[in-house]
Subunit: 90 residues, 2 copies
Amino acid sequence: MPKFQARVLISLRSSVLDPAGEAARAAANRLGVKGIEKLRIGKSVDLSIEAPTESEARSRLELLSDRLLANPVIENWSLDIQPSNTSKEG
Amino acid sequence: MPKFQARVLISLRSSVLDPAGEAARAAANRLGVKGIEKLRIGKSVDLSIEAPTESEARSRLELLSDRLLANPVIENWSLDIQPSNTSKEG
């Protein structure tokens, strides 16, 4: 059965405060890294999934993202998926 | 001064256990999402930075990633940066 590599990026909605990101931004300033204007911390989930078709894999991962990986009340997510056998790339 | 959008993806080194990812994988199975073989949870940091040149912005963000955002002992990171005024894209 074909395998797919996927990445789900989960970010806080822009209306939600991000105290961890704000702390990192302040720490960057103390570290001497200038010019940072925004800094928001999210999650990145790397998966591999086995499914008969890419659209089937995609629909399973959409369910997973909505129900388990992200909290849709405060987070947005985006899904990137591609076939796992990347030997044909280039 | 030019602005740049950047994203730093931080993932656990493959030799490091990921109990949170393992728990999410088990939960996916209980949720009825079949076929998930690997699941690793990392961080995604979205930033905007103001710097005179793209290479200057990149070197600042490399320092930041190495020293603050990631723990190089257990994590790898990758940096993606692009100019903020994307009106010329296409």
